[in-house]
Symmetry: D3
Subunit: 321 residues, 6 copies
């Protein structure tokens, strides 16, 4: 039996493969028997799975983050595929697996993106801005290499934060050619730093899976944490006050509306542009994902992160997603 990818599974099929455990709950049936309710993942997607007739050993052996080998059958109930597990075991050294092959990740390597972002930073002419941004970015390297940009929704994948920053920098570069009065130094700086404090707001493992929000993250939030981070580092480095203040303002205002966490609206054009670039990149990411799961001529399911809109995939010739 060939090894299967989640995205290709079809109803009725019997499959065999390795998957990572992304969620796991021990539940009880109405006639009082325990079973495991799991979410399994690989690089191509996720699938719900059930392990019935649980042994007491099974109950403790399987944990989130472990890779398992399973055999089973694919059924479709209520329009959702589900894997009924027939055989299961933990992977072992003999399987020779690389854990990163089993989580969704940015389409580009972290190391490559990290270098590209450093290149953008090196194009910042203003010494104070460049020094501050470079310091904050390189000091975050360990976490930023694998962190997602969010717990759910847009860019909630391994290295999603880097991917979000890099794409935004590319947009910023293009828009600076059109709106030529924009201070590109500030704009690049704002893009790199706008979500940097997410690494202090959430706890994620090296697979880019967020386990929870930190205490500081819940009490202050990444916007306030980001403002403080810039303020502290700027003081340590002796950065020009105006530079530090403008970057703090850009982070503070990048959600634009008070109800979305920004107590101040953008008051400089670079802050305004940062807000739109952030929003465009999130929306284009979510729409792309929704379209991947939708047939031509049909609407997607409701997308929570876009006010429950359904996205339509037209019957025109579409470009590759």
């Amino acid at each position: 039996m060939e090894i299967s990818n989640i995205i290709n599974l079809e109803q009725g099929e019997s499959i065999e493969g390795f998957f990572i455990i992304k969620q796991l709950q021990c539940k009880v049936t109405n006639n009082n028997k325990k079973f495991l309710d799991l979410v399994l993942g690989d690089r191509t997607g996720e699938i719900n799975a059930k392990l019935w007739d649980l042994s007491s050993e099974d109950e403790t052996k399987y944990l989130v983050g472990k890779i398992i080998k399973v055999r089973g059958a694919i059924t479709f109930w209520q329009n959702q595929p589900q894997l009924k597990i027939e055989r299961i075991r933990l992977s072992n050294k003999g399987d020779n697996l690389n854990v990163t092959d089993y989580v969704q990740a940015a389409p580009v390597e972290g190391e490559y993106m990290y270098e590209k972002i450093l290149e953008f930073i090196s194009q910042i002419h203003n010494n104070d801005i460049r020094a501050l941004v470079e310091t904050l970015f390189t000091e975050s390297k360990e976490k930023v290499m694998t962190y997602p940009a969010a717990m759910k929704n847009h860019h909630s994948i391994r290295s999603g934060l880097l991917y979000h920053i890099l794409t935004m920098l590319e947009v910023a570069e293009k828009l600076s050619l059109i709106y030529t009065y924009i201070n590109t130094d500030l704009l690049y700086g704002g893009v790199v730093l706008h979500d940097i404090a997410k690494i202090y707001e959430m706890d994620a493992n090296e697979l880019g899976i967020v386990s929870e929000y930190t205490v500081e993250g819940q009490l202050l939030g990444h916007i306030t944490q980001g403002v403080k981070l810039i303020d502290n580092t700027a003081q340590k480095l002796g950065i020009d006050d105006e530079v530090s203040l403008l970057l703090q303002h850009m982070i503070l205002s990048h959600h634009s509306e008070a109800e979305f966490g920004s107590p101040k609206k953008p008051m400089i054009p670079e802050a305004e542009l940062l807000h739109h670039i952030d929003l465009i990149d999130s929306r284009m990411y979510d729409m792309k994902n929704a379209l991947k799961r939708t047939e031509q001529g049909k609407f997607s399911d409701k997308i929570w992160s876009m006010d429950n809109r359904r996205i339509y995939k037209s019957i025109l010739d579409n470009k590759p997603l």
Copy 2:
């Protein structure tokens, strides 16, 4: 005495020059004497002016749209410059004036922009989209050459609508390089057509000055008018239904929120992008204008079209506006 431009006027100065009358009201002082309260304009800006001690002939001679020659003194009351008119006459043939020199206009010639937009349209590969967009755009040529994009606020200048469309096309071109799954044909089409019905929503003269909204404009609005326009023209040309429907949806949803006039939110990525490009171009235009009138280290007045925000002009080295 040298001919003066409004943007250079300084307090206390005596000036002489030609200006166009943009607004005019006959008012009465509290001790019951009539005077004219005017807004005068030239290519560089606008200034409030007063003509005291009005003759009964003056009351009817001066009209909106006329060019006058005036002599007077600049005073500053309540932080706003004001021109006290000492001498005034209508311009005449001997003055050899070109009326378009006296209104604010897009920084590029209408004819040039018109051609550039046609070039963008010619890059649309889908025959139905290109035919529909080209027909609608060229049929609007007479009005679109001079129409502003709005009565007040962003791009409310001569040929402002063309300027808004062209800049948005340039942004659309750039973003298509980054979000490569976007259908550029639809996006270009949506940009060209998104505000095209403004020429039926507002009555403007050949100077790009809007006198009023049309009856249809008030009862339906340019979004609904635009949807109908596309629908009708597509039927006449025998355009593919899906193409017509998608462009109608893009026009219908381009304000994104029901409270701003869009009963449907964007459901295709090209509609989502169109909304953001429209918003960015409006905001960057308004911010640029606000910054022109603001000193470094200071905040602008409140900008009505941006929720009464004040815009800050930083003390960093700024690029030319």
Copy 3:
């Protein structure tokens, strides 16, 4: 065993009868056995039903829209009646059934209502209004005879759209006697056309059951579709521009608030009145239905379509519902 109607079913009873399948889902129990979860209907109401111990043949044999004969027992769990199916078969020719006996429908025949509405139309004095309304109404005859006015909520029954239009016309007639400055031609026209595009917004079968929204319905919505329909037909018929524009405005504004889909508020008294008549007729319908299911001195369940209000049925002498 006598044939049963849903509205009379009582707990503990064993029943036998014919019902139409209105919804159907194949589900699985926690110990992994399949069963059918159904909604069955007849002319008097709906009931949830379960078919346990499913054969593989059963899984494919029963479909939405089919009439079945069932025997079973009524139980009440969590205050809702439920039918446990003991025997089941598809109806056949020998049963001699009329499918329309098994769906809820307007209390008056479609043909009768259609004629009554034509009578109202014939009372329109203005030739342009009458021609336009008559053409649009008669061209829709096939669908309008059976369409419901909505997928859920008010008038979501067979011929519900006709019933809604006719009752509104009767209200319009009465109010025109009191607010005598109203243009009755416009008001009648607006009533007939206000929801006419629902036949293009939703796909419903000849039983008045809506299967889904159309693509155009989702991308544009019945209000925009209705405006286009009037515009196109008016052009074809050479209708007076003012007449066409006013009717388009009435359709556009009949939900009154942007958040409910009307980008323009009513600006003529006939549009204002149309909005209220539409709302009154929907509310009176929903309240009547709620009261049917409520005992005197008690409150109904929460009514979703009325902001989750509970309706009270007083202990005064009530008129028949």
Copy 4:
């Protein structure tokens, strides 16, 4: 010189006539001279007037509610007519004037409307409802004969409250013929009582001009005052509890939304209908007034009481207003 009516005044005209003083303020010009700024009224409308060059006697002689004879000239500044007073004196007995000829009033006599409403009340079958409504209505007779329905906006004219109630009763009668399950007794009762406590919320004189809100009116409001009034009177008369409660609920909920003063939404169909009838009658009144002041093919000024909408007067043949 003929006696003039306000509705017929034209620019440039010299006029003479009797008017009532509806508002009056003593102001000072910028060069420190006092003048009177007045609003004058007659049965056909209102006009702003100025009395320059004020004597110290003039300052105290003219009071709100007095009738004056004036001669002067009509000017139009900023699109509003204004009367420049040249001669002025108080009216005297010799003028033989009837003060009610100088205020706007309902188009029907108070006494007639009062009797018509009593007729409606006599049609209430339920003894408790009829007794309660009749008692409350007849006990209010003195004030209700002349009170307006509001300080500003709809029905803010002499006997406006009676006119509003009577028209609503006529609408209620008609709608009861269509929605036959409605309890007409409750509906008539609710209509008569819904605004009855306005006579305790506002202080108005016998001309129907409101001078101010009462202390209780400001601290409680007419809705809460009305509920108490019904409760107290029902107790005194020994009215059935359910009847009293339902009428209290109808008064409490007749504005329908919390933000408009109703803490409970309608929970019986009669309360729902009362809310719509109240709203329709207010809107039809305001629209009619707006149309009176508007030319065919034009839009009215913004109407504050209708969310600043402009009303359009079509070029179709309109019925008399």
Copy 5:
């Protein structure tokens, strides 16, 4: 086996004890077997329980409000403790139980709180206020001794209403020392009466468990009921009008916002203060409860009554809850 308290139950434990039945539903498993789904309570908390393999006698024997003796095992599924009942019987006289030992109640005896509140009332200097408040409070004694302050949320425990009033009086006393211009008579009066009509809005038994809202409670609500109660009683006692009006205003405005049921905002300082004291006492109660169930350094679950906030229990030395 020792008798257990709910708050101390731990996973895996076998327990035995007496509990009161607070909720009870008969449900059916997916393979069609009945079971009882219960909420059991004692003085320390609540726990979900299941009784599988139900006899037909069990189905009718156990009722809400009954005390049962059960033996069973504690399991934790989905982070919530659950009791699997192994043995069950109704309590009997031989068990010698006091039912009030099995419901949550205010931390102080009802009789004591009642006397303390009377003491506060006796400190009111104004005779009219004191007479009115004392009459209304003592007339409510029977119900007020045990009523909760709400069906769910803050103070929804036996004698919760008394506890809420008493704590608020203590706060009122303190704040009167700081804001010395406050009329303490009014403030005390307002505190005692602000929720007094809850005894007519809800039906609760002598254990302080609310079964449902009354008809009047649903149609009018405790705020309107309270205003009427004060008005009626004040009239009977011949209380000064201003006193009665001010207390009615305080009750009417104590939720402060229309959307929370107050059609008028506070217009006297005592009403403003009453609103804040009410809100503070509710919030401090809910926070205290949330903290009891939360470990140091952790966040509580989302608290519905506080806009779904999570409450944080710090790692500083905390005071006893």
Copy 6:
């Protein structure tokens, strides 16, 4: 002629006195003559004043913050008192004036309040909280001695910030006696620091008059500035992380709602209480001021800072304000 206080001025009176210039504008009459439009103040209030017939010397001599001696007459136009200046001169050394006698100030001396607040701080048991709060408070001494708490509205008087803090501490002390589980150390700390960054948000002179918001104040706001200030100082002093974080959270959440500038809602009970104490103290201050200007039995003008409510001054025996 006796020296006058503003609060005692009566219409028609001729007065003489010293006042401070709080606002000043040079305006022009409609017949083109300059005059000074001033707001004059003393310890008891403010009054509008006009200086007509301006000499060119006058135009530059009088400045905001200067004390002048004037003679003039009090007139009342449009219900507002106004001073028509007849004689005016700058005060000089010979007048022997103390500038602080001419501005409104807190009712207690700054030095006294400062010491009282230090006493409260000394009662904080937790060493880290006490050290941090004491440092931040004493480092702000110079500005905090005279700063108002706002530019307009509540406590916008000399030393208003100190007065606001001290009153809030007194409330905090009292409430801690009732809600005994509150951490008083945190609560006191939060009260002292909640508005401390206002001294960096606004520029005020030593008279407590705010001239403008600072650049940082506009770009970040006092809440974000306060969070940074605590963070920085805590790091310098080596304060416990939890202490610093909790105080930052209290400052961040003290406006409670995102729309009022708090991106996080209170998540610890001390933060919740801080929010209410702040609101109560502002409201009680504004209400007290409104009542001072209101007669018994009357309503105040609309108070902008309290959603345009009018405040009622009852006819009961009122305590001194």
